[in-house]
């Protein structure tokens, strides 16, 4: 008898193939040790097929869809653009309409000195950029909190 036993991996491969008795390698047929090991694997693998698949004890769809609706992006970005355009048109219209009243206010910041004008413009832009950056940071923080 061939005493070179099959490796455990070989025996598992044979068990996975579910071979019939006549298809088994000669060694398995003759070696009680390997045959017993094969039988154990076959019993185990057949029993695995009978194990019921895992399932959650809660309603996954309900749980997930609630969360998805919170995180759902705006349904249509087209409406956002339409609203933004309408707002810009409205603000421009208001500014043009009230320009005669606002003119003295703008003249307060207007100077013949171009360096002074440049300074005012750059400072305004810096303050605006700082505010926008702060708004963006707050928005991201809130988004992160919502998605946690």
């Amino acid at each position: 008898m061939n005493t070179n036993h099959l490796t455990d991996e070989n025996i598992q491969d044979i068990a996975l193939k579910n071979l019939k008795e006549e298809q088994l390698p000669m060694h398995i047929k003759e070696c009680t040790e390997c045959k017993a090991s094969l039988k154990a694997y076959q019993v185990m693998m057949n029993s695995m097929n009978e194990i019921r698949p895992e399932s959650f004890s809660f309603d996954v769809s309900e749980l997930v869809m609630q969360r998805i609706k919170v995180a759902e992006p705006e349904s249509s970005s087209v409406w956002v653009y339409v609203l933004a355009s309408a707002l810009i048109i409205f603000v421009t219209g208001v500014l043009l309409f009230f320009m005669p009243v606002l003119k003295p206010f703008f003249e307060l910041f207007h100077s013949p000195d171009s360096m002074y004008n440049l300074f005012v413009a750059v400072t305004s832009l810096c303050v605006f950029a700082f505010l926008m950056q702060d708004v963006l940071r707050q928005y991201k923080q809130k988004e992160k909190l919502l998605l946690q």
Partner: protein, 190 residues
């Protein structure tokens, strides 16, 4: 469902989700719930944590669905997100993923209870309880291969492990299972 029709169905669902149809996403959740359960429940036992993780997994899927390139089945991609999210959770909790020594300690601690149980349990229940004592990675691989009946290639895609490693972990897991069952339940099973 064959691969082509599966891929077609995946494409339609993904396109619908991307155009803002949340009902299509609900279908994806229904279709993949079993696979996600197989992964999450094998790794995490606490129900509240399972709830949190399931939400986190599907939220990631929803947010990243625009990055899905149809290089695998949608279910495989979702399975991969479920697997890695669960692994991250276990790592955060410092739960060993492959620790065989912990497994043996665990086996002996539970041995008395298991012996009492075996008289009223069936073979598959005993086997299932033994599978649940395996380290997280091993029990997930065993359930994906033997219960979900996924091929090694798909398990490799889900776990990100090389196919050879998946095969070798499966051999090791089955060997441990067989040895544990033989030592604990020999008379009843074989």
């Amino acid at each position: 469902m064959n691969n082509d029709s599966q891929s077609f169905s995946d494409k339609i669902l993904v396109e619908k989700v991307l155009s803002g149809n949340t009902q299509a996403f609900a279908i994806i959740v229904k279709q993949t719930e079993r696979l996600v359960a197989q992964i999450v429940r094998k790794m995490i036992t606490n129900e509240e944590d399972q709830k949190d993780l399931v939400q986190e997994i599907y939220l990631k899927v929803y947010q990243r669905i625009n990055t899905f390139r149809f290089q695998s089945k949608l279910s495989t991609w979702i399975g991969s997100i479920a697997y890695h999210t669960s692994i991250n959770y276990l790592e955060k909790k410092k739960i060993p993923l492959y620790d065989i020594d912990a497994l043996h300690e665990n086996t002996f601690v539970q041995h008395d209870n298991a012996e009492k149980k075996l008289f009223r349990n069936e073979t598959s229940n005993i086997l299932n309880s033994e599978i649940n004592k395996l380290p997280p990675i091993y029990k997930t691989l065993i359930s994906l291969y033997h219960i979900e009946e996924l091929p090694n290639k798909e398990i490799a895609e889900i776990t990100g492990l090389p196919e050879g490693t998946v095969k070798s972990y499966l051999y090791r897991a089955r060997k441990i299972l067989k040895e544990n069952i033989e030592s604990n339940f020999k008379d009843q099973l074989i």
